[in-house]
C-alpha cells in the first residue's frame, strides 16, 4: 500500500524536533478523534501534546477514568499505539510490567537489538494517582522503572460525577464534599504530589499545563530523555466538573497558571528546583476562582475569607518556590 511518508522511509526516533508551533503541527497524530471525551476536555489536549512530542514507538497505559473509559470503549480504540488498561490503581504497574518485559525479551534476544527502544507512558487521573493508585505509583518510582507517569489532574473523580479526591483544593464543591448552608465544600488541603514524587528521588518531576504548550512539550521531551521514572502532573481544566463553558478550557487554564495556583516548575533528581514559567501579569486568585462555578459559594459573605486565605497561601507557596530555586539546594 502506498503512503505519504514524512521525513523519508527510515522511521525517525527520539523526540520530535519542535522549533515552533508550526513545526509541531507537522506531527502525525496518534490520538484519534471520535473518542467520547466531553467537548472541550483538556485531557485530550494534553494527550495529543504528549504523543505528538515524540517519534518513538509507544506503549501507553491508562487507569480507569475519563481518559480510559472514553477512548477504549469496545469495539473502538482511539489509540494508534499499543495501550493497556487493567484497573483503577495500576496503570503505573501495568507499564512497569511491560517495561520489565521489554528488558527481559531484549536480554533474551526475543526482541532484536535493532528494534528502537519504545517509550513507556502511564496515564492516570488525580483519583487514580493521588488516592487509590498512590502506592502503585510510589512502588514503580522506588523500583526505578524507565517510564513516564502523567497525572491528568482535574482535582476530582470526574468520570464518576465529580467526587472529591485528595487533589481537590480547599473550598471546592465536589459531590461528596458539597457546599451547603453548613459547609464550604472540601476541607482538606490539596496533596502536594510533586514534592512527594521528588522525595522518591525521581530523576525528573514537573508540573505542566496544556495552555503553556512550549513549556509542556519541553518538559515532556526532557522527561523522555531522562532515564528512570519521570512524574508529570498535568493540570487538566475540566469543563464538566469545574463547570465553566466548554469553549473556555484554555482561558481557564491560562488563569490557573497565571494566578500561580498551578505554578509550572520542575525538580531534578529530587532536589534542584527550577521555575519554568513566570507570568508577566499575575492574576489574582479571586479572578481564577470567579470563573469556575465549583467555587461560586466562596463569594458569599460568610465564606469570602477563604478566598483571602487562598491568595495568602498561593503567595506563600510562590515565595517558597522562588526561594528554593534561588538557594539551588
Amino acid at each position: 500500500m502506498s503512503c505519504s511518508l514524512i521525513g523519508g522511509c527510515t522511521p525517525p526516533q527520539g523526540n520530535k524536533e519542535i522549533k515552533n508551533l508550526k513545526s509541531f503541527s507537522t506531527a502525525a497524530e496518534r490520538f484519534e478523534g471520535a473518542h467520547v471525551l466531553c467537548p472541550g476536555c483538556a485531557h485530550s489536549i494534553i494527550v495529543r501534546e504528549i504523543l505528538n512530542a515524540t517519534n518513538d514507538n509507544l506503549v501507553v497505559s491508562a487507569s480507569t477514568g475519563c481518559l480510559e473509559v472514553c477512548t477504549a470503549i469496545y469495539p473502538h480504540t482511539s489509540w494508534d499505539c499499543s495501550w493497556i488498561h487493567i484497573g483503577f490503581e495500576n496503570s503505573s504497574t501495568a507499564i512497569a510490567g511491560a517495561e520489565t518485559a521489554n528488558k527481559a525479551l531484549r536480554a533474551k534476544g526475543r526482541i532484536s537489538a535493532d528494534t528502537p527502544e519504545p517509550k513507556f507512558i502511564a496515564f492516570g487521573g488525580d483519583g487514580a494517582t493521588y488516592d487509590i493508585g498512590f502506592q502503585w505509583v510510589s512502588g514503580c518510582f522506588e523500583r526505578g522503572h524507565d517510564m513516564m507517569y502523567v497525572c491528568l489532574d482535574n482535582e476530582v473523580y470526574a468520570n464518576t460525577g465529580g467526587q472529591r479526591s485528595s487533589s481537590t483544593p480547599i473550598g471546592a464543591s465536589a459531590t461528596t464534599t458539597p457546599a451547603g448552608s453548613h459547609s464550604y465544600g472540601e476541607k482538606q488541603h490539596k496533596k502536594d504530589m510533586l514534592q512527594i514524587m521528588a522525595a522518591h528521588g525521581a530523576p525528573y518531576v514537573a508540573q505542566v499545563a496544556p495552555n503553556k504548550w512550549k513549556d509542556m512539550v519541553k518538559k515532556i521531551q526532557k522527561g523522555f530523555d531522562t532515564k528512570g521514572p519521570v512524574y508529570i502532573n498535568a493540570m487538566s481544566a475540566c469543563t464538566t466538573e469545574w463547570k465553566f463553558p466548554i469553549h473556555q478550557t484554555i482561558e481557564v487554564s491560562d488563569m490557573a497558571t497565571d494566578s500561580l495556583v498551578f505554578p509550572l516548575y520542575e525538580i531534578i533528581d529530587g532536589r534542584e528546583l527550577n521555575i519554568t514559567y513566570r507570568p508577566k501579569n499575575i492574576v489574582p486568585v479571586r479572578d481564577y476562582l470567579g470563573v469556575q462555578p465549583r467555587f461560586k459559594h466562596l463569594f458569599k459573605p460568610e465564606y469570602e475569607y477563604l478566598i483571602d486565605e487562598w491568595q495568602k497561601r498561593v503567595d506563600k507557596d510562590w515565595d517558597y518556590l522562588q526561594r528554593r530555586e534561588e538557594s539551588r539546594v
Binding site: 500500500m1 502506498s2 503512503c3 505519504s4 511518508l5 514524512i6 521525513g7 522511509c9 522511521p11 525517525p12 520530535k16 508551533l21 508550526k22 513545526s23 509541531f24 503541527s25 507537522t26 506531527a27 502525525a28 497524530e29 496518534r30 490520538f31 484519534e32 478523534g33 471520535a34 473518542h35 467520547v36 471525551l37 467537548p39 472541550g40 476536555c41 483538556a42 485531557h43 485530550s44 489536549i45 495529543r48 501534546e49 517519534n55 514507538n57 477512548t71 477504549a72 469496545y74 469495539p75 473502538h76 480504540t77 482511539s78 489509540w79 494508534d80 499505539c81 496544556p210 495552555n211 504548550w213 466548554i246 469553549h247 473556555q248 478550557t249 484554555i250 482561558e251
Partner: protein
C-alpha cells in the same frame, strides 16, 4: 497580513477522508460473529500488520482498522460548529494545537480544514484564534458554511 490562500482539492479531500462509515467495511463489527471476537476483547488500531512506524504516516493514509475510532462519527454532538474563513487565516496552528478532538487538520504547516465528522463543536478553536476578525467563528449547526461566510463578524476595534 492576509495572504492569498487557496485550498487545493487534495487538501480538502484529506479532511473529508478521515471518516469511513462502517457500511464501507465488509465485516462490520456490529455483525461480528462468534469466531471473530478477539480473545480478551482486544482491539486493533490497524488492519493487519504495518511495516513502518506510524509517525511517518498521516492518519488518512494509515490502514485504519474498523475498530479504530477514527471511523466513528460524533458530529451529531454539535449544537454549534466552527466555520473557517480561509483568507483571514495566518496558519498559526493554535486551533490545531488546542482541538481536543483532533478535528483541525493541518498539513505541511498549513491549515487544511475541519474534520466535521469528529468535531464536537466545543469552540476552543475559535477562542484561541488570534486573528481579528477571527478566522474561525462558531455558527449554529444548521447554518450552511457558505452562508456563514457571508455573515462573518466585523473586525473588533476594541481589541481581542
Amino acid at each position: 497580513m492576509a495572504k492569498e490562500k487557496v485550498i487545493t482539492p487534495e487538501q480538502e479531500a484529506i479532511a473529508k477522508s478521515l471518516y469511513k462509515s462502517t457500511d464501507q467495511f465488509e465485516n462490520s463489527i456490529w455483525n461480528m460473529g462468534w469466531d471473530e471476537l478477539v480473545p480478551g476483547a482486544a482491539c486493533f488500531s490497524f488492519e493487519g500488520e504495518i511495516d513502518h512506524t506510524v509517525v511517518n504516516v498521516n492518519p488518512e493514509d494509515r490502514p485504519n482498522a474498523e475498530t479504530n475510532s477514527i471511523n466513528k462519527y460524533v458530529g451529531d454532538w454539535r449544537v454549534v460548529k466552527p466555520v473557517w474563513k480561509v483568507d483571514l487565516c495566518i496558519d498559526c496552528q493554535n486551533c490545531w494545537l488546542y482541538c481536543p478532538d483532533t478535528s483541525i487538520i493541518s498539513r505541511d504547516k498549513e491549515m487544511v480544514g475541519i474534520d466535521y465528522d469528529h468535531c464536537k463543536g466545543c469552540g476552543i478553536c475559535s477562542e484561541v484564534c488570534p486573528t481579528n476578525p477571527k478566522s474561525l467563528v462558531m455558527f449554529d449547526e444548521n447554518t450552511k458554511n457558505e452562508d456563514a461566510l457571508t455573515q462573518w463578524p466585523e473586525k473588533n476595534t476594541k481589541g481581542e
